[in-house]
Symmetry: none
Subunit: 224 residues, 4 copies
Amino acid sequence: MGTQERKTREKEARRQLILTAANRMLSEKGFMQMTMEDVAREAELSTGLLYFYFKGKDEILVTLLLNSIQYLNDRLRQVRDQDGVALQEKMKQLEDTFKDLLAFDPSVFHKIIHLHSSRNMEKLSFSLIEEVKEGYRQAFSLMTEIFRKIQDAGIAFSAAPDHYTDFICSIFLGSICHAQCLFLSAGDRDHQQQLLGEAFEIIDKSVSNGASQKDRKKICNYSA
Amino acid sequence: MGTQERKTREKEARRQLILTAANRMLSEKGFMQMTMEDVAREAELSTGLLYFYFKGKDEILVTLLLNSIQYLNDRLRQVRDQDGVALQEKMKQLEDTFKDLLAFDPSVFHKIIHLHSSRNMEKLSFSLIEEVKEGYRQAFSLMTEIFRKIQDAGIAFSAAPDHYTDFICSIFLGSICHAQCLFLSAGDRDHQQQLLGEAFEIIDKSVSNGASQKDRKKICNYSA
Amino acid sequence: MGTQERKTREKEARRQLILTAANRMLSEKGFMQMTMEDVAREAELSTGLLYFYFKGKDEILVTLLLNSIQYLNDRLRQVRDQDGVALQEKMKQLEDTFKDLLAFDPSVFHKIIHLHSSRNMEKLSFSLIEEVKEGYRQAFSLMTEIFRKIQDAGIAFSAAPDHYTDFICSIFLGSICHAQCLFLSAGDRDHQQQLLGEAFEIIDKSVSNGASQKDRKKICNYSA
Amino acid sequence: MGTQERKTREKEARRQLILTAANRMLSEKGFMQMTMEDVAREAELSTGLLYFYFKGKDEILVTLLLNSIQYLNDRLRQVRDQDGVALQEKMKQLEDTFKDLLAFDPSVFHKIIHLHSSRNMEKLSFSLIEEVKEGYRQAFSLMTEIFRKIQDAGIAFSAAPDHYTDFICSIFLGSICHAQCLFLSAGDRDHQQQLLGEAFEIIDKSVSNGASQKDRKKICNYSA
DNA sequence: TATGAATGAGCGTTCATTCAT
DNA sequence: TATGAATGAACGCTCATTCAT
């Protein structure tokens, strides 16, 4: 019935409310400094209610991370499935994907970091950890497929597709981290997007260069 | 006086004892899980004494980080100042520098991460923060100098030297972080060095490619 | 009216449903570990509804205890009123009564214990406490009557009937408690009934012995 | 050195201070209602310090229980080893032992009860649980030895010594529990000692009766 | 210098109870 | 009657830091 449906919707809305509030506090204070009371206050709810919707603090974090992973994978799937585009376009799409992920979740890096902070996973349910693992695997797999497609199109990559996946992942994560170092040393803000952009620029050029040696004609247009 | 000198030396030795112990615990448990009592036990000292040598937990962390930054900068200076080597050699030296940094301090990444964890710097003394900033600046500056030298030697870089600095820093930090993701998703160990190696391989090739088009003769031997 | 009556009946049925569920959870988890949500889930009702039928968690416990007390008193009345049986038979009936009480409510001991746990009675309504008191008094009174009858029949008891009441009550409660100690120390199960049986055996024999000295002829058949 | 020794003594004194405070609060409020802050306040210490001396709330309880068990076993050993006393004396000594245990630790019953409250032992260290088990076993074993000695002396017991052990244990525990029932129903205080006394009186008489039939001469004086 | 006992604020979490619907 | 989301006080426990000796 409509009533039942509305309730379900409202419950989901509450969950989202909490997640949004947690995300705000997470960006503001970091995971360790964020208390459940912070989240409750930000969401204008009682602390107890948080535990009605989530098993605990860690589950909130992981749920948020899973959201971001899903966002990334959705975008990666689009990039993979979109045919008839030029190589540079594919790389540009990848760059935009990561930039948008960063806009979608500015603290995705910190979520990943905390999740891996050894002792924090022990309290998580097995299935939730599995979801994260699966999310990671899908992301890696999708990226590798994309790189393979590019390579199959004749572009001369200097390494195997899965190495490119690792390479791009490292650059994504590293750009965020290095941006913080720059922020500390120079005081500027928001280098993340910029660093990512510059890194992709370097990669793009080197790829074009590499490509040029093999099959320059094939660069512009290839189909899956 | 000799006595005074000996005292100073012994004090410094104690500090090192604590730092070494802290480093061990840091690798073992991570910063949040490491308690001051852990450090004291590992150093076979009392907790109270830690506060005689260091202002607090954070200061220990930052001191350790400064050590690692200094190690890095020393190495970078050597790379910069060593003349008469081929381009590939310079890149290889850079790669080795970072790999050695990782061996020298396996938890350097986590130190950086924690330092930036927003609220953790408030308790630190101004001068200590300045030291870190200065260390960062020097590292960036040294790397940029190195890249500039390479570029000056006629190697066709696809970007400005300081962008390469950011690029390499990102890759260094990102490789460590991504290695953890791989560890979670695949269960393998110790991808850090490997990922870093693969990343440098990709860069090397692209640089060679780029270089080859411009001035292949100049690659092999250049002098500052 | 019939409708009214049905409603009353249904309401009582609901109460019983809750009580039964609570009893199950009580045996399974113990009072402190049993949450109201446990009870609600077990009864397939909502938590809120529990508070329509009962003032709170403690009231459920006490209501269950009252049930068991009533069961005991009903049985004791039967033992008291049944004439023309031998002495040993009376003692056997008493033994069976307690054993059946234990079967009827395996957690009666824990209910009693919790009720007495000092601060737990403060929240209970005056009348409910009075009911428990009255139930206790009736049980003690009934048992004393039974012992008096036995004594009046010429059996040489070594103590006054009310002392025997206390004695038997202590043995009943103590057997349950001691069974738990044995369970902890030896790991065996279900000593309750056995301990109770052994205790009664000891009592029986000593009573027979004592009796034999005075008036053995009167043992076998006496009437109230 | 003297200083070291004094420190050790003072530390032990602190432990005792906490245990004493906990015992007071335990009698006053019961285990569940007693908070660590209560104990700290009563001992005029900070809550944190409690955790320096004890692993947690449960460990305090068990330590107190172990104290009482040790007290009991010491007394039982004395009873067992004292030769050349009459049978009645042995029984009287047993009675006094339990009465003194009750005076030594008025809440020993509640400690036992809580310990057995299923889920509470999970947090305890294995060795501590083993100590309790061993304490129980020793008590049972000592009592059984005592009863065997009495029986060997020619006293006609109506049951095996270990059944008598169970019997006496049940009566001890049951008397305390039943005293609470009486307190609730009648409002009187301190029936514990009295009930225990009455119970022993009943047992004594029945034993004397039983004994008289076999070997009255041996009652008065026997040696191990 | 060195010790380690002492502090105490703070946090994650639980759960009996209430209340809007 | 019935629901179940919402409340919020309470508690056990941790640990960086201090301080008397």
